[in-house]
């Protein structure tokens, strides 16, 4: 399960909406081993594409070094899909190189609906997990769990028949 603050979710969704119709991408760093995402780092999409994203390699080196210096790790790696559901594509799976990270996908296909889902991608296997959004300023014991969109029984990665 991914537990993440409402303020960080809002910042990720705002970033995705801002860059729409291009895909947006970024990282949420957290203390190593904590599994708790605390520092939102929006990244440039070097591909500037509606169907592809890629971290700029020099920006990535800088950010990864900074995380290393602060004893952090990339707890969340996120990107947006701008016309399809928030589910990892084959491209996403083949590139997924951080087995410890939560891969968060945001879909901006509906302007008024927040669609955010989280996945583990390890050795090419995708596993969806629930997202627990922690509301700030609310009794933490009163927090509820949300599951935005269940995994469909069959997944059409190519969306070819739509």
């Amino acid at each position: 399960m991914l537990s993440i603050d409402r303020s960080i979710v809002d910042a990720i969704v705002a970033h995705a909406r801002r860059d729409h119709p291009d895909e947006a991408c970024g990282v949420v760093a957290g203390a190593a081993g904590s599994d708790s995402p605390t520092r939102h780092i929006p990244m440039d999409n070097a591909a500037r594409s509606m169907t592809f994203y890629e971290f700029d390699s020099m920006e990535q080196l800088r950010v990864w070094r900074e995380m290393d210096d602060r004893d952090e790790e990339p707890v969340v790696i996120y990107h947006s899909h701008t016309a399809t559901e928030a589910y990892p594509s084959r491209t996403d799976v083949s590139f997924a190189g951080e087995p410890g990270a939560h891969y968060v996908l945001v879909s901006t296909r509906e302007p008024d609906t927040e669609e955010i889902r989280s996945f583990r991608i390890v050795d090419g296997v995708v596993t969806e997990e629930p997202v627990r959004i922690v509301e700030a300023g609310v009794d933490p014991h009163a927090v509820q769990s949300y599951m935005f969109g269940q995994s469909p029984a069959t997944v059409d990665y190519e969306c070819s028949d739509r």
Partner: protein, 143 residues
């Protein structure tokens, strides 16, 4: 002296969990061959069968992306620091699927045009409507 190599999490299974290893070589290719002699399999994760640097990794010499330094032919000196990171990339579609979607948009536009044309004709003459309206309908229900 040697060359310090920083290993990303996903490849530490090849280095016994070590975050930093040392190696030697005049070029990046030599260095990876040297590392592979002690950490078997590591080179195969970084270099394709065709002998090029893998698309899924970024390799840096000191602060430079090796893609700007000649890739596997990048020259190395003792005391250099090499960093390996997983490239972070992905996106909604493969190219084939993107093409399919584009086709779909074109089809949707064609259907919309067709329907509009059919409606316009229908307004003008009830006698003409039956023939041109039919293909439009078929296109809409054909999916």
């Amino acid at each position: 002296m040697a060359i310090e190599v920083r290993i990303p999490t996903i490849l530490r299974s090849y280095t016994g969990g070590a975050k930093v290893v040392e190696g030697a070589g005049d070029t990046l290719s030599d260095l990876l061959t040297d590392l592979d002699s002690r950490h078997g399999g590591l080179k195969g994760r970084l270099v394709t069968e065709a002998g090029a640097l893998h698309r899924f990794v970024n390799v840096y010499v000191n602060d430079e992306d090796v893609r700007f330094l000649g890739s596997l032919d990048a020259k190395l000196n003792d005391g250099d620091s090499v960093t390996i990171l997983p490239a972070v990339a992905g996106g909604a579609f493969g190219f084939a699927a993107a093409a399919a979607i584009a086709q779909h948009s074109a089809a949707a536009a064609a259907i919309a045009q067709h329907s509009a044309a059919a409606a316009a004709i229908a307004q003008h003459s009830a006698a003409v409507v039956s023939a041109p309206a039919a293909p439009g309908r078929r296109a809409v229900t054909g999916r």
